[in-house]
């Protein structure tokens, strides 16, 4: 079953193209990587899916819905920048998510917090960057969403935290949903991916199942990434 369908999606910022004729189809039950260097259009594509920006051309649907408030109910988004209010405690953040997202699973959130070694009385203001990343990941993964969109979840966190974050993604992965994740750290993320899209200068230059890409090219995904984007 197709969860996300992007048909000839283009996005321009004034005259500068960020994405050109991007065709992506994401199926249920897979973890898919959107890989590319800085400025390749990864974040723009994720913002399109989550309704933060609008396409200049093309069609984009999530579970058959055009992007709008209905699709937002189906998509759990982890942005690449901090977005929680400093005055919030972790409990406040949980309450906000529980209030606004009907699919928020409070029990799973508590489990994830324990897994991430965080407690509900902690203040967002007092958390380190890595802890904030873990918190927003826990909030995102605690939803029973159809599509999880994770923008650079490993950015700026130490290797131990990276392992925890990858562990949490695998732990919460549900075969009825789909995970779309971007990262520069191909080595770290390669092991959890089923499929990969390589995005270069706003265009998809390579796509396939990770096992196929490896066997066809006799290279690891990391080596292939270096070859494509060198």
């Amino acid at each position: 079953m197709v969860i996300l369908k992007a048909d000839k999606i283009s996005k321009k910022y004034f005259t500068k193209p960020a994405l050109t004729d991007v065709d992506i189809s994401l199926e249920q039950g897979k973890i898919i990587g959107l890989l590319g260097p800085n400025g390749s259009g990864k974040t723009t594509f994720l913002k399109l899916i989550t309704g933060m920006v609008r396409p200049s051309a093309g069609n984009l649907t999530v579970n058959g819905f055009e992007i709008g408030y209905k699709s937002k109910e189906l998509v759990a988004f982890l942005p690449d920048s901090e977005f929680l209010y400093d005055w919030m405690t972790i409990k406040d953040a949980r309450d906000v998510y529980a209030n606004f997202f009907r699919d928020f699973n409070a029990r799973r959130f508590t489990e994830l917090l324990e897994f991430m070694k965080l407690t509900e009385d902690m203040r967002v203001k007092s958390l380190s960057k890595g802890m904030k990343e873990k918190l927003v990941l826990a909030l995102t993964l605690a939803r029973d969403a159809k599509l999880f969109v994770l923008d650079e979840p490993l950015n700026g966190v130490d290797p131990v935290a990276r392992e925890l974050i990858l562990g949490a993604i695998i732990r919460c992965f549900n075969p009825e949903s789909t995970v779309l994740v971007t990262s520069h750290l191909i080595n770290e993320i390669e092991s959890i991916l089923d499929e990969a899209y390589f995005l270069k200068e706003g265009r998809i230059v390579l796509h396939g199942g990770v096992d196929n890409l490896r066997s066809e090219n006799h290279k690891s995904l990391d080596e292939l990434y270096r070859e494509v984007f060198a």
Binding site: M52, G68, W87, N99
Partner: protein, 264 residues
């Protein structure tokens, strides 16, 4: 959903303003105490007359404390207005706008929730501000001033229906003003998030819209449908209907821009 949105907006305002409100109450209590010490025997005139032997001669400190008291009270009354505009702008383009845009609700509900929270904040801060001024007058001025306030309250109490109408009219006027400002901010943000460009666009939009509504009001006053007055407020049914239409148009315009044009 709208109830949850209003709760969230009020919580945001409370969390950001609670220390300011507590600080205000603390400073004003101190101000009140200082002025009471200067005017222990309730003779305000003694504060300004230097007799050489008068124990309650306050002079400059009393004036400064009084000025500070009223400046703070006015600031508190104006705070929800400033904060409401700032918060709306930040919610559209600030760090937390991701969370705002992520919430699965139609934009007009989000806008109405922000408006309701801003009006609530205006009512709370306005009441505290007026009450503190009342307290000051009660504590420091002579019986005539207190009697005068008492007379006003008594006059008002004869016609509660009119009082309610006037309060509703004033609240609606505030809501309409806020809504036009929100609309102008949204127009500006739909062009760019860079404040260097967005602020002049917003101000220009505000001037154009207020100019147009004022011109419309003048034209409507020439052919009033049904004239009436709420105390000193002279208005007509046609003018009131026009105000309601402008208010609804501002909500619809803000909703459309947020749904179709605003980007993160």
């Amino acid at each position: 959903m709208i109830g949850k949105l209003i709760y969230f907006e009020i919580m945001k305002k409370w969390r950001s303003a609670k220390y300011l409100l507590l600080g205000y109450l603390g400073i004003q209590a101190l101000n009140l105490l200082i002025t009471r010490i200067f005017l222990w025997n309730n003779k305000i005139g003694d504060a300004f007359i230097h007799s050489g032997t008068a124990p309650n001669n306050a002079g400059l400190p009393f004036i400064l404390t009084t000025i500070l008291f009223f400046i703070l009270a006015i600031f508190l009354g104006a705070f929800p207005f400033i904060e409401g505009i700032y918060r709306f702008e930040r919610d559209l383009s600030g760090r937390q706008s991701y969370l705002e845009l992520m919430i699965p609700a139609v934009s007009w509900k989000k806008v109405l929730a922000k408006l309701a929270a801003t009006l609530s904040s205006l009512i709370v801060c306005g009441t505290v501000s007026l009450f503190s001024m009342f307290m000051y007058v009660m504590a420091n001025f002579n019986a005539q001033a207190i009697e005068f306030i008492g007379d006003i309250i008594e006059a008002l109490s004869h016609d509660w229906f009119k009082v309610i109408l006037v309060v509703l009219y004033m609240l609606f006027s505030c809501a309409a003003s806020f809504m036009i400002i929100f609309f102008c901010i949204t127009i500006a943000k739909s062009f760019t998030h860079k404040n260097r460009i967005a602020v002049p666009i917003g101000i220009a939009a505000f001037l154009i819209i207020t100019g147009c509504t004022a011109a419309l009001g003048i034209q409507l006053d020439k052919i009033p449908l049904m004239k009436f007055s709420l105390w000193e407020i002279e208005t007509s049914l046609s003018r009131t209907l026009a105000d309601i239409i402008v208010f609804l148009a501002a909500i619809a315009g803000t909703n459309w821009l947020m749904e179709k044009r605003i980007e993160h």
